[in-house]
């Protein structure tokens, strides 16, 4: 080893440890999954690519209005003839089967998700897939216990569900598991950049012998989604995605009887007090904003750090950020994967440039970016004020804005100074302060001395413009039962 005078930690050299791709079998093209079968769509097709290499993975059918109508009809038929009448304990067993098959095919799903989404295999393997399976397992158990939910036992009918690209399979499970447990049938549209795990899930439904039409998967972009949520025979709309699209959906369903839940954007405050265990807090800050490349609606994108420890926290944070490994999503050592699309990368770049123009100071972790694909280094902005756009707008990327505060009251005021209200984090050793902050924060989820924790039993969803309704837990059933009218 070459001698060095430097006493700073040198990054370990890691040999690549790639997960094998051979476990997945991607077809050249995919149709729509309607009525239990894969069918050709009537519309055009589009390509899904690997964001880490820009390699074309498959040709995907784009469902047009006629396709959407067929899918809704299939779901309606399955609801009125089979699923809506089936005793809960029988529905439960299908959902348990699906949970088991997700577990059995876990590695395949993890690899496919990493390839199509760009997120590290470490995350798909340890977070996305196991929690998706757990979600089905949890709601399977509810199917024959709805009378204990407090929301009655009557299903709504057909649910039209539109999910984002940041956690494709996991968001699918959050949508489909409670809907089916409550006796509804679904038409689900995955995001146009990440359709592959949803299409593999369709195959899982076949393996589970799920009755045809209970789950229908239609692929496409915004037009397909619009056709689905505005279809007159859809009883319930569930959407996870941007606040802008959520607002459009709320307008589209105005004046109808459709029930709606929306899980939208966020600009979460991650609040670090001076008595916090700082190393743990730094880990939590890193997890809060760089987990999943910051493509997380509940990401801790605003760090509020108490002035007395701000310098120290930032020094430790930058040191930690320098050790993050960015690169091949299939490498088991990778911490930060690819940005999901060129479009998203452009948005992150634009807001970061605005951050600099408005006077904040930019620092990025010194990591090499691959030549192909879409990449953005973990980045932190200091000297940010509440007026800056990077403190107000959701960047949805690995970009942290740092603000400081002196008193708890100031922290509360700054944390709540946002149209969003999805999540928040609090770091302090003082229990009473955690609870005081939790009460004062206008956010649907508050993490104390931890961040980005998810569990099927735990309700998730936002205040204010982060949407309405909750997913997960007993409360998650309210969205899919007649007695749960919000």
């Amino acid at each position: 080893m070459a001698s060095t005078r430097s006493t700073t930690a040198r990054a370990f050299e890691y040999a690549p440890a790639p997960e094998s791709r051979s476990i997945v079998d991607i077809a050249p093209s995919y149709g729509l999954f309607v009525g239990g079968e894969f069918v050709d769509g009537h519309g055009k097709s589009f390509k899904t690519i690997s964001p880490s290499s820009e390699e074309v993975l498959a040709e995907i059918a784009e469902a047009d209005e006629a396709d959407v109508d067929l899918a809704v009809k299939a779901a309606r038929r399955a609801h009125s003839r089979v699923w809506g009448r089936m005793p809960g304990k029988e529905r439960a067993k299908y959902l348990f089967r699906i949970a088991r098959i997700i577990q059995e095919r876990g590695r395949e799903l993890a690899v496919l998700e990493s390839i199509d989404n760009g997120k590290p295999i470490k995350e798909t393997r340890d977070v996305d897939v196991p929690i998706a399976a757990a979600h089905f397992f949890y709601y399977a158990g509810w199917a024959d216990k709805l009378e204990y939910s407090g929301y009655g036992t009557e299903s709504l009918g057909v649910a039209g569900q539109v999910i984002p690209w940041n956690f494709p399979l996991l968001m699918l499970s959050w949508k489909i598991a409670p809907a089916l447990a409550a006796g509804n049938t679904v038409v689900l549209k995955p995001a146009e950049t990440t359709p592959l795990t949803a299409l593999l899930f369709a195959e899982i439904c076949q393996q589970a012998d799920l009755p045809p039409g209970v789950v229908n998967i239609i692929t496409g972009a915004g037009d397909t989604g619009r056709a689905l949520v505005s279809h007159p025979d859809v009883d319930k709309v569930a959407f996870t995605g941007s606040t802008e699209v959520g607002r459009a959906i709320a307008k589209a369903v105005a004046g109808t009887d459709k029930r709606v839940t929306l899980e939208l954007g966020g600009k979460a405050a991650n609040i670090v007090f001076d008595d916090a265990p700082l190393d743990q807090a730094v880990e939590g800050i890193v997890n809060g904003i760089f987990f999943n490349q910051g493509h997380v609606c509940c990401a801790g994108s605003r760090l509020l750090v108490q002035e007395s420890v701000a310098d120290e926290v930032l020094a430790r944070l930058k040191r930690r950020m320098a050790t993050l490994r960015l690169g091949d999503p299939l490498d088991k050592n990778t911490d930060v994967g690819a940005i999901n699309s060129a479009e998203q990368l452009a948005k992150i770049r634009e807001l970061s440039e605005i951050g600099e123009q408005e006077g904040a100071e930019r620092w990025s972790a010194p990591c090499e970016l691959p030549d192909h694909g879409f990449w953005f280094p973990p980045t932190v902005f200091t000297g940010v004020t509440q007026a800056h756009r990077i403190a107000r707008e959701e960047i949805f990327g690995p970009v942290l804005s740092v603000l400081t505060f002196r008193t708890p009251a100031e922290a509360i005021e700054k944390a709540n100074n946002t149209p969003y209200g999805l999540s928040a984090g609090v770091w302090t050793d003082k229990g009473s302060r955690i609870l005081k902050m939790a009460n004062a924060l206008r956010a649907g989820v508050v993490w104390a001395n931890t961040f980005n924790k998810f569990d099927p039993t735990s309700p998730f969803g936002g205040y204010k413009e982060s949407g309405y309704g909750r997913e997960g837990g007993r409360h998650g059933l309210a969205a899919y039962l007649k007695g749960g009218h919000a």
């Binding site: 348990f96 397992f137 949890y138 158990g141 216990k145 609870l435 005081k436 009460n439 039993t457 007993r474």
Partner: protein, 289 residues
């Protein structure tokens, strides 16, 4: 010449192992027509005490597992049982004199009951626990916790569905259990213990005793390290049930009394058999900066 079959020895299930009774005693088990089937182990007082020790040892680990994991394990029991249907259908025909079709229906109910309770492990807290809006700056939360080691006198008539219906809720709620099987129809319980042993249920979480209640039931009811007792299997024997309830008072066991007649086990169970073996813990914490 016809092949002589290899017959199974029906043993106790204690601490995840299959011992004979330490007393060396056994008793004759007959089928529904009164024909000899097998000699089953006649559990002694000492066997009952050993079973309680094994249950106590297993309790902490089982209660400490996540509710999700307990649900997965219970679901696994259902899976393995489904896989061994012919064996249980035969046990029910032999022990309860059912036709193959009726035995199949009882087995369906039994497996579905396990699935029902598998789904309860991680929902019970959400249904019976809650936050309490106390009139002061305090966080106040009540959650259920398992009471500990539970003794169960299993039903006498329904030797499999009845057994699972009284046993599953106790372990779903996170307790460890010592159960006495139907005295005259113990073989389905022994076969069920073999399913438990191959289903990721940690040893000692379920312990099954066969034989006369004269020895075991009093020992369990009076045992100072048993936290609760379910007397369901004494349906129709109020004098014996009352006597055991008196014994149970020594350490204030939670007692589930015997019904007048054995219930219809095909009815949906409700959550009472779980809440009977739960404690409620309430945590207070101040709120302030």
């Amino acid at each position: 010449m016809a092949r002589a079959e290899v017959r199974k020895t029906y043993k106790l299930f204690i601490g995840g192992e299959f011992p004979r009774s330490e007393s060396g005693h056994s008793y004759v088990v007959e089928d529904a027509q009164g024909r000899f089937v097998a000699n089953a182990a006649l559990a002694s007082r000492k066997d009952a005490r050993d079973a309680v020790s094994a249950a106590r040892k297993a309790f902490g680990g089982w209660a400490g597992r996540t509710a999700y994991n307990r649900g997965q394990v219970l679901y696994r029991v259902a899976e393995v049982m489904e896989d061994r249907r012919p064996q249980f259908v035969e046990a029910l025909r032999q022990g309860e004199g059912l036709t193959a079709a009726a035995a199949g229906r009882v087995l369906d109910e039994t497996i579905d009951r396990l699935v029902w309770y598998a789904g309860w492990t991680d929902k019970l807290t959400q249904v019976v626990g809650n936050a309490n809006p106390v009139a002061g700056p305090f966080f106040n939360l009540s959650t259920p916790e398992p009471t500990g080691v539970v003794a169960v006198i299993a039903p006498q008539e329904s030797s499999l569905l009845g057994l699972v219906s009284v046993l599953a809720p106790v372990i779903a709620a996170g307790n460890a259990v010592v159960v006495t099987a139907s005295v005259l129809r113990p073989l389905a319980a022994v076969t069920f213990s073999e399913v438990l042993a191959t289903s990721d249920v940690p040893g000692g979480v379920v312990n099954i005793l066969t034989g006369s209640l004269d020895r075991t039931a009093v020992t369990l009811a009076s045992h100072m390290d048993v936290n609760a007792i379910d007397l369901t299997g004494l349906a129709g024997d109020p004098a014996q049930a009352a006597a055991l309830e008196v014994e149970a008072a020594a350490n204030l066991k939670r007692v589930r009394r015997a019904p007048a007649v054995e219930p219809d086990w095909s009815a949906e169970p409700g959550i009472g058999r779980m809440t009977d073996v739960l404690e409620t813990k309430t945590v207070w914490h101040p709120i302030g900066v």
